[in-house]
Symmetry: C2
Subunit: 188 residues, 2 copies
DNA sequence: TCAAACAAACCGTCTGGTCGGTACAGAAAC
DNA sequence: GTTTCTGTACCGACCAGACGGTTTGTTTGA
């Protein structure tokens, strides 16, 4: 794969991501992606031979970025649970920090990706299942899972913009989650 | 509105719900709904003049049923937070109990409803915002919000089928959440 | 010069919505 | 008491646009 090809592919993924963010998946048409990326539809389909292939690529890139951040946090010395909390804190709990406006519809759109691409959803599920199994072997599995669930719920809430608490309360929640995570990580 | 009309409308909502459950929203076509309900497409559009109107009606009915259950739990004497936990426990955390198979795609589909119908999403958001504001005035707002988030996250996890813990752990989590809710409700 | 990297017209299908009609129950008119 | 009228409930053929994907043609860089 040449360098030129790679640049175009990244442009296409960026374009698709932008469209999903701004307008939702139901507006993600091949024509629109091609137009936004400054490429013709034929060019798009040359690199991603179907819409599903494009969606898969989007999610794949997203997941890879996430994994890298998690591993880097662990290398910084955070325990597995605390690293998980901090991963969310840095990337998923503050949509207002993001340069791109993210609201309910956009978050839903990303979730919907998985509905569209069943094959990928299955792979994604297997990965996550394996990951969360380690969460059931900490010093306090129930508490660990509650932290995990809370983070996921909070992420949804923030991105949907539904029942979002004031900033101080939000910070208090995160702080408390970090404390508990730390506690779990340090116990035997 | 006559009784006959009402019966047909309910049949249509049932059909639409079934289709979403079984196949996902992207398979929810007017023709399919009409066929499932044993009505013609014209008949469907007579009662719900657009697809959006149909989706709105689905969500509206869903929300109403939920409100009624929550209020009945409170009448049974459970505090607001505990009633909230039990609401989830009874209706949202055990997809395997449901007579209808619910998996990732199906849950996503329901969520996607809100993406499709922006107008309704706004109304829904306002209602929930008001509700969760009361959650920020309990004896321990941070803890209350963590419980809420955990329930929402757990619901997602269960319906997506991602990282689902074994039954005992699941029960332990719910038990712990109820205990904490009870504690919050009984403190001043 | 040859293959990779695009462009753009074109096709078939799917689907939301329209529209002209039908059936029928009751009210109105006579 | 029959006829006419009217509104509700429903049918199903049809249309127009959107969209994924194909095909065929063109450019470009090594």
């Amino acid at each position: 794969m040449s360098n030129r090809s790679n640049v175009t592919k990244q442009k296409l993924l960026d374009a698709a991501t932008t469209i999903i963010m701004d307008n939702g998946v139901h507006q993600l048409t091949l024509d629109e992606v091609a137009k936004t990326a400054g490429v013709s539809k034929g060019g798009l389909l040359y690199h991603y031979p179907s819409k599903e292939a494009l969606l898969t690529a989007i999610v794949e890139r997203l997941q890879q970025e996430e994994n890298e951040l998690y591993e880097s946090l662990q290398r910084e010395g955070f325990g597995p649970v605390e690293a998980f909390v901090r991963l969310f804190d840095e990337t998923k709990l503050h949509p207002e920090r993001s340069p791109i406006q993210i609201d309910a519809e956009k978050m839903i759109s990303f979730i919907t990706l998985f509905a569209v691409d069943q094959e990928y959803a299955a792979r994604w599920k297997r990965d996550l299942d394996a990951f969360f199994e380690t969460f059931q072997k900490t010093s306090d599995p129930a508490e660990t899972m509650i932290i995990r669930y809370a983070l996921e719920g909070m992420m949804m809430s923030e991105h949907f913009g539904v029942g979002v608490p004031p900033a101080e309360l939000k910070q208090a929640i995160i702080t408390r989650l970090i404390e508990r995570a730390k506690h779990i990580d340090t116990k035997p």
